[in-house]
Amino acid sequence: MTRKLIHVVFSGFISLSCISETGAQTGKPIANRQFLDNLAYPYMNNSFDISSESLLVQNPEDICLIQAKLQKNEIILEYVITDTLMIIVCVSRYGKCCYRKQVDAHFWKTLKEYRKELKVADIENLISACKKMYNMFISPVKNILDRKTRLIIIPGRDLSGIPFESFIVDESGQANNGFSCQHYLILDFEITYHYSAKYWAWSFSVTSAYRTNIQEEPELDFAGFSPVFYSSHKVNPLPSSRDELKTIVSMFGRKGLSARIAVGEQSKKTLFLELACNSRVIHLATHNSSNFSKGELGGVLFWDYDPSSRQNVFSKGILTLNEICNLRLKADLVVLNACASGFGKKVGRSGLCSLPLGFLYAGAKNILATLWNVTDGHAGKFMVSFYRKWLSGKTYSKALREAKLDMISHRETALPTLWAPYVLIGQ
C-alpha cells in the first residue's frame, strides 16, 4: 500500500501545524495557485468526478476567505472519494496540504462493515472497526493535527453518516477493555461537520439564504415541539420526548430566557411555522419519516400527522424538506432529535439532500441532528445533558463533546451506537 503525503509547498510553508513564516509576519492567510495546479487540475483532466463545492477546485481567493474564518486551533478536513482514489484536503488558518490514497474494494467493504456494526450495536466487532476507521481517515493526517483542538469535517457524499467522533486511536498494546476505556477521537477534538468548506465560510457573513433584511433579534430564545403521539397515529408513542422538553424549558426559565414548548396535541405544524421563524433555538423531539434509501424525502412529524397522506409531498402534519427550504429562519441552532434526521439522500456529485441542509439553506447557523435511529429514552436524556452544558456557557460543539464524554464515562452508555449519532453541522 502506497501512502503518499503531498505537501504543497509554497513560500514559507513549513507544515500545517506550524505557522508559516510569511503568514506569521503578515498575519494573513496564504494561498497559492500551485495548490490547484498540482492537485486539482490533473485529476480534473482525467474526468475526476468532483463536487464544485470541493476545496480542490476553489479559487485561491476563496481558499483565502475560508482560511480567514478559521481559528488557530481549527482545521478543515475535506474528504473527496471516488471509486479509485481518496484525497484528504487539509486547510488550516496558515497552511494547507493534501493526502491521497488509492481506494480498493477492501476500503469500501471496511467502510460498509463499520457502518453496519455501529448501527446494529455489534459489541463484538465494533472496537476493531473503529480503529480501522481511524487508520483509514485520520492516521494519514495525524501529524498535522498536533496543535488543533477542533476539526471541521467535510465528509462529502460517501462519508456522510460516518461519525468521526467514534474513531478509536489505534495505540499499539491497547487492550479491548470495553467501550468506556477506548481512546475515541472525541477525547482529543471537538468535531463539527459541514457540507462544504466554502459554504461554511460564507455562512459567517450572511443571515439567511435569501440574504433578506432579517437583522432583528428573534423574540423567543427557545421553541420546542414534541407531538409525543398516541398509537392512533400509527407511529410509536414517544413519552420521553415530553419529559425532555419540560426539563429543557425549565432550564431556560431558570436562566431567565424566553422559551415556549408545544407538547402533544399542541404540537402542530402550523404552530411550528409560526414560531420557528422567530426563535433562536428550535427543538424538535419527534419522529422522522424520511427514508432516503428508498427515495422518499418525508420529513419530521407533528401531532396533526395523517398516516394516510404520507406519500403526498404536501402531507398534513409532515414538515417536508421543500417547506423547510422556504422558511426564513433566524435560528442559531436547530435540534432535530429524531431518528436519522441528519442522514440524507445522495444527490449527484455535490453530496446530500437532507433536512439539515434544508435548515441551513433557510438560514439556521447550526443543526444538531442524528445519523441513525436513536431511542426515545436516551435521546431525551442526551439532549437535557447537552442543553445543561450549553446553558452553562459552553459553545455548541464543546457542550456536545462533553455530553458525549459523559456517556462514554459510564459503561452502560459507552457504546458508540448510543452517543455517536449526534452530530453538529454548521459553524
Binding site: V120, I123, N236, L238, C339, A340, N373, H378
Partner: protein
Amino acid sequence: MKETENLSEWIERFQLNELDQNEQIRFLSLLERNPLLRREVELDKELNTILSDENLLQLSEKFFLIRDRTGHGRNKWIPVLIAASIIFLLTIGILILVTEKGLVKKFNDQPVAGKSSEKNKGDYLSANFIPIPEFEILIGSTTRGPSFNLKMPQSRTIISRGTDLVFEWTSAEIQNQVKIELFNNKGKKVFESLPYPGNRFTLSTTFFNPGIYYWKIIIDEELISLGCMKVL
C-alpha cells in the same frame, strides 16, 4: 490323493534317503510334475541345514539365556500390574466419593466455598446469566424512527429450553424486511435469520444452553428493537 496326504512324511523320508525304490520313483516323478512340491523340498532342505548348524544353535541358546536373566519378554508381571491398577483405581474412586460427600455438604452450608464439580457446574451456569450492560440499557427502548411495533415477545422474556420463541410485529412499511439476530451473554452471535418479509417468526430454543440471550430486530441494517430472553 494318498500320496498328497503323506507328502510331508515323504519329503522327510526323501531327505533322509529312507524311501524304497518304488516310492522313490513315484516321488521323483511327482517332484518332476509338481513345481510346488519341488519348492517345498528345497525349503525343507534349507531348514535341515540351518538346524544342523551347531554355531547357530549355540548362539540361539545364549540369546535365550540372557533374555531369561534380564526378565525381558516374560509375562509373569502382567497379572501383578493388572491387580495393582485395579487396587489403585478403587482407592481413587473411594477417595473421590468421600471427598464429594464432604464438599456437597460444605457447598450446602456455604454456597461460595469448595471446588466440587457441582460448584463448577453452578459457576458455568451462572456465568451464562451475567447480563451485558451495553445491551441491558437498550432493552425495550423505542426508536424515534420507523413505525415498528413489536407485539411479541415481551422485551424481557423467560422461557424453558425447548419452548418456541414467537416474534410478531407490525410495521407501517409493508416492504420492510426484518432480520432477527440472537446473541449470547458474551456478545457472540448464535443465530441470524435471513431478511424476512412477513410479520411473524418462530425461533426454536431446543439447542440453546440455559442462560441470557439478547435478540435484535434489524431493518435495513439498523437496530430497531432489542430484547432479552432467559432460557431456563
